[in-house]
């Protein structure tokens, strides 16, 4: 049976560093995908994900008992992503000008059906057009299946505010999708 996050954290705090790998394994995909959405690059996302887990490890001492790990980790990751974006603005190697899209770099991960791929492409495009917070809310709610209260913890909002924003974000996403659909046809 899988150990709970809090149980693993307890073990890590007691000196069992190796146990931390279980947490990395459990959440690496979600954090990697978040970092990809921020950086639009596989290599940067990999580096940023590593940084996030290392930072989280260093900060485990401040993790409160009974707190939920993923919202805490996600908040840390999102802040790290923001810092990275700020840092990128100062870097001058032109990398930010050039990034390859999800479909382009990972075509082999996706379905071969052209229609399916087009649909995914449209969906990703519409999601990318959403403001960062709205996009993340939808992904966390429906892709990562976080509860409304967990989202409230992450975004520092009441449950009713979260519900309202999700509703609005879905409406906006639908609008973007239909606009995109119109222009494609």
């Amino acid at each position: 049976m899988d150990k709970s996050d809090n149980h693993i954290i307890k073990q890590v705090r007691q000196g069992d560093t190796e146990s931390y790998s279980k947490l990395v394994k459990r959440y690496q995909k979600a954090i990697y995908n978040l970092m990809y959405r921020i950086s639009q690059s596989n290599d940067d996302a990999a580096e940023l994900t590593q940084d996030v887990f290392c930072k989280a490890f260093e900060k485990l001492a401040y993790f409160k008992d009974g707190q939920r790990f993923f919202p805490w980790l996600y908040t840390l990751a999102a802040n790290h992503g923001k810092d990275w974006i700020r840092g990128q603005a100062r870097k001058r190697d032109g990398l930010q000008v050039y990034s390859e899209g999800l479909i382009q770099e990972n075509s082999s991960h996706l379905s071969n059906g052209i229609e399916k791929r087009q649909e995914i492409r449209r969906m990703l495009g519409a999601l990318a057009d959403l403001p960062h917070e709205k996009r993340e809310m939808l992904i966390l709610r429906y892709k990562q299946e976080l509860s409304v209260s967990e989202l409230g913890e992450i975004f520092n909002l009441s449950t009713s505010a979260v519900k309202m924003r999700i509703h609005r974000s879905l409406g906006l996403l639908k609008k973007f999708l239909s606009e995109n659909h119109d222009t494609n046809e």
Binding site: T17, S21, Y32, Q50, F53, G94, L95, V97, K174
Partner: protein, 378 residues
């Protein structure tokens, strides 16, 4: 939006594909967080045992003192600003700032340190003052330009660099940053000219090499872009920029270089040399790269797969030759870890534009599961 629309949308969101993180991510994290196992007293003793020296640089000391004074004064001024507008009640601080601004070197040092501390707006008057007092100083021009960039003033940034270059035409950081400035403003030909100047002075300047490729990408000049990426890869074979250069090259249907996953590691090899198999220095270097991975990772099992359209014999010959070359470096015994395959057909790969068939190619992959049959487990 009605309920069934919402449900459909949510369903589509749930079915969105997700990227798989790289396989070595957990290992890399764990490697980074492994605690330093030395007890603290040992570290302390080690430190005591090490010879120590103190260097005294009068200029540096003077600079630091000036900066400390500047920061202190600036801190005072900022503090005052928050409460009330600067009043004439603080003549000492104002005089301190004025003194710094009168001396170009002090202004420069104060400005630089403020920049380093992330206070770009506060740094600007100091760097402007240093530059206007010594307009021919390329270092001052460079930092003034950097500060303009940080403050989002690209035209002024450019002027600073140009002034610096006029005074000292071969200053690489100035030429490089002028190139970046042009690139950011999408003045691609100007950017290219600057990067080319940098490369004429320092042919292996990494950012100039990379950004040259980038400029050609933006210009849609694939022919020159291919050359640019190949030149970059000639000098740099590791790091994310190199991986990007190879991906870009491959998407342009040039497979001179390819990325291979050996165990947890991605390596870049000059595939063309490993297909031609001519006994050149290039081939020796490529073989050395693969052999080193095998040498440093005793559990690595290597699969060599050659493809040759309509000629399985040629593919087999290449596979055997590569194995023999690797054996010459790591020793024959170690070649048990190498498996060979060959195909008399094209290799099918995925690039950004879809499927692509390579008439001649090499596929290498390594898995970390080799157990030496001669070593019994205890």
């Amino acid at each position: 939006m009605n309920e069934s629309d919402t449900e459909k949308l949510i369903n589509r969101l749930q079915q969105l594909p997700e990227l798989e993180p790289p396989p070595d991510l957990i290992n890399k994290v764990m490697k980074r967080i492994k605690p330093d196992r030395k007890p603290f007293w040992q570290k302390f003793l080690n430190r005591l045992g090490k010879p120590c020296h103190i260097t005294f640089k009068p200029l540096q000391l003077a600079g630091t003192t000036v900066f400390a004074a500047a920061l202190f004064s600036l801190g005072m001024l900022t503090g005052i600003n928050r409460v009330q507008q600067v009043s004439v009640d603080q003549p000492a601080q104002i005089t301190a700032i004025e003194n710094i601004l009168q001396d170009p070197k002090s202004s420069f040092l104060a400005g630089r340190e403020l920049m380093t501390g992330g206070l770009e707006a506060e740094a600007l008057p100091f760097l402007q003052s240093a530059s206007s007092s010594s307009p021919n100083n390329p270092e001052y021009a460079y930092w003034e330009g950097l500060c303009y960039q940080a403050n989002g003033m690209p035209a002024r940034e450019r002027s600073s660099y140009i002034r610096g270059i006029n005074a000292s035409p071969d200053t690489i950081p100035l030429l490089l940053n002028l190139g970046h400035n042009f690139l950011e403003q999408k003045q691609l030909s100007n950017a290219l000219a600057q990067y080319s100047k940098v490369l004429s002075l320092a042919p292996d300047e990494q950012t100039a090499l990379y950004n040259k490729g980038l400029v050609y990408t933006l210009k849609n000049d694939s022919l020159n872009e291919i050359t640019a990426w190949k030149t970059y890869l000639h000098y740099y074979r590791s790091g994310k920029k190199s991986l990007r250069a190879v991906r870009r090259l491959n998407n342009l249907k040039d497979f001179t270089y390819r990325i291979y996953q050996l165990g947890n590691e991605k390596i870049i090899l000059h595939q063309a040399a490993l297909i031609k198999m001519q006994p050149t220095e290039r081939l020796r270097q490529e073989v050395e790269i693969v052999a080193n991975r095998l040498r440093h990772n005793p559990k690595l099992q290597l699969d060599i797969v050659y493809f040759h359209k309509n000629d399985a014999y040629a593919a087999r010959k290449n596979a055997l030759l590569l194995k023999r070359n690797i054996a010459a470096v790591i020793g024959k015994n170690e070649t048990k870890r190498i498996r060979l395959s060959w195909f008399g057909e094209k290799e099918i790969i995925q690039i950004s534009s879809g499927e692509y068939r390579l008439p001649e190619s090499l596929l290498l992959f390594g898995t970390r599961n080799y157990t030496n049959p001669n070593k019994s487990e205890i």
